[in-house]
Amino acid sequence: MNVLLKDEELKSTEFTENNIKVCVEDFNFYYDTVQALKEINLKIRENTVVGIIGPSGCGKSTFLRCFNRMNDTISNIRYEGNIAIDGNNIFDKDLDVVDLRKNVGMVFQKSNPFPKSIFENVAYGLKINGIKDKGFITERVEKSLKDSALWEEVKDRLHKSAFALSGGQQQRLCIARALAIEPEVLLLDEPASALDPIATAKIEELIHELKKKYTIVIVTHNMQQAARVSDYTAFFMLGELIEFDVTNKIFTNPSNKITEDYVTGRFG
């Protein structure tokens, strides 16, 4: 069972040397002695959306948190293999993880606005990066909020607490906060799992817009959502990448029997 894209598929989906944004090679990940990810190989094209699906505990969130090395905050973890973004290994010793995280934004499953005003939330990333120019910050905050489709709803109360926003608005605020520092890759960890259908639809619409500028990796529990928003879909199970292909193919004509059983709802 080979999880790499075959050459002809690469061609048919227009993978070229120049448009590969992220490249994962023989990647293994361990929590202490438990192996959470096994021999993952995967390539992600620039300006596409990759959906990661799989049953709970299959390692999809762990995988996502590797791209910005958020797993570094956990003790006793270990990894083998490479993940390269734009050809640069993110585990390189000379690489500053702070720079990596500026380049790879992340939105968490549970919206986590800081207990500050809406404006301060979005400006946070700029301020910690030492930007002091008020005009620039104001401009960037506005742009980020527009990009995350939140501007119209909050423009009159930018200096009110972010906690006063609804769940869906808070999640879009978190997206705006990530966009403000202009990353190239955006990681979304089940961004809509706690939201109602209308708020979810807004987030999905947003993802469609955002992929023009960003490369997006989204973990989702919801297969319809993966089918709707992603260009490529990766199916994980028990720490293994079972199948990775164009979304349409995964959902209509998967090559692997397990994938088929999962996407048709026979287990999971």
């Binding site: 003790s75 500026k102 934004g105 549970k110 986590n112 606005p113 207990p115 946070y124 990066n129 607490s161």
Partner: protein, 279 residues
């Protein structure tokens, strides 16, 4: 029925505790308030402490508490930040944390003797406000560290993750996104620790508190009188205990009010800081 018995039991517990507290407070208030007047608070003790006031003891306690605060608050908060945010979670950290918890249970007289050896003799600070304050500071440290760590633990992990994911360094994340939410709790713990230190007798017994000094300390290297020690002498060591009983009650009342005020400050600080944050 079972629930009724359970609730009754819990109710009796709380009534018993409050009753005991109320009786003590009432007794001290009743007997102490007769002694309290402006002279008692502002005058020097006279005639072998059988007359006059307790002013030097109030001042002494005040300055000792300042030294205690200067040592225990910054050091305690620093330790707590390191332990909770930076230290790797392993056997060593667990051991250190356990030792700190145990230190807060060490009898205060042991700190007193330790203070004599370390500050009075080794550092040659003599029996002074400084020695006593530092000894009390050491005694309060485990308390401050534990309280500060609890406050840090109460800050949701998502605040840290959120800022780290935006490219904040660990320190930036702690400074801008963790400390603002932990400071109220940290301060509350620190002030409660101080109020406990202010009421301690044993640690200052050998390190600087004086039996009878009818004048004020001129510097931090002078001996001093302190409220709790004064109270101890008035109730057990004085040559005319029955005669000075009212002064002892008055001193007790002043000490209790002082500590109550400190706790009040702790509560108000926490409330104010919390309110600012929620807006």
């Amino acid at each position: 029925m079972e629930q009724f018995i359970g609730f009754m039991f819990l109710r009796i517990c709380i009534v018993l505790v409050l009753l005991a507290l109320a009786i003590i407070l009432f007794d001290i208030f009743k007997k102490g308030s007769a002694t309290i007047n402006w002279e008692f608070l502002s005058a020097m003790p006279r005639k072998g402490m059988t007359e006059g006031g307790i002013f030097p003891a109030i001042i002494g306690t005040f300055f000792v508490t300042i030294i205690t605060a200067l040592l225990s608050i910054p050091l305690g908060m620093g330790c707590a930040i390191y332990l909770n945010e930076y230290a790797k979670k392993g056997k060593l950290t667990r051991l250190i944390r356990m030792s700190i918890r145990n230190l807060s249970g060490v009898p205060s007289i042991v700190y007193g003797l330790f203070g004599v050896v370390l500050f009075v003799q080794m550092f040659q600070l003599d029996t002074s406000i400084l020695s006593a304050g530092l000894t009390l500071g050491l005694m309060t440290l485990p308390w401050t560290i534990t309280a500060s760590e609890e406050a840090l633990k109460n800050v949701p992990q998502s605040y840290r993750d959120g800022s780290l994911a935006l490219g904040a360094t660990k320190w930036q994340s702690i400074r801008t996104n963790v400390l603002p939410h932990a400071i109220p709790g940290m301060l509350t713990g620190a002030i409660l620790g101080l109020s406990r230190a202010a009421g301690e007798t044993a640690p200052i017994l050998f390190t600087g508190a004086a039996f009878y000094l009818p004048f004020l300390p001129k510097s931090f290297s002078d001996q001093f009188m302190a409220l709790p020690y004064h109270l101890y002498i008035m109730s057990t060591q004085h040559h005319a205990i029955e005669k000075v009983r009212p002064i002892a009650y008055g001193t007790a009342l002043v000490l209790i009010v002082l500590i109550f005020c400190m706790n009040l400050v702790a509560i108000i600080t926490r409330y104010k800081l919390r309110k600012v944050r929620m807006e």
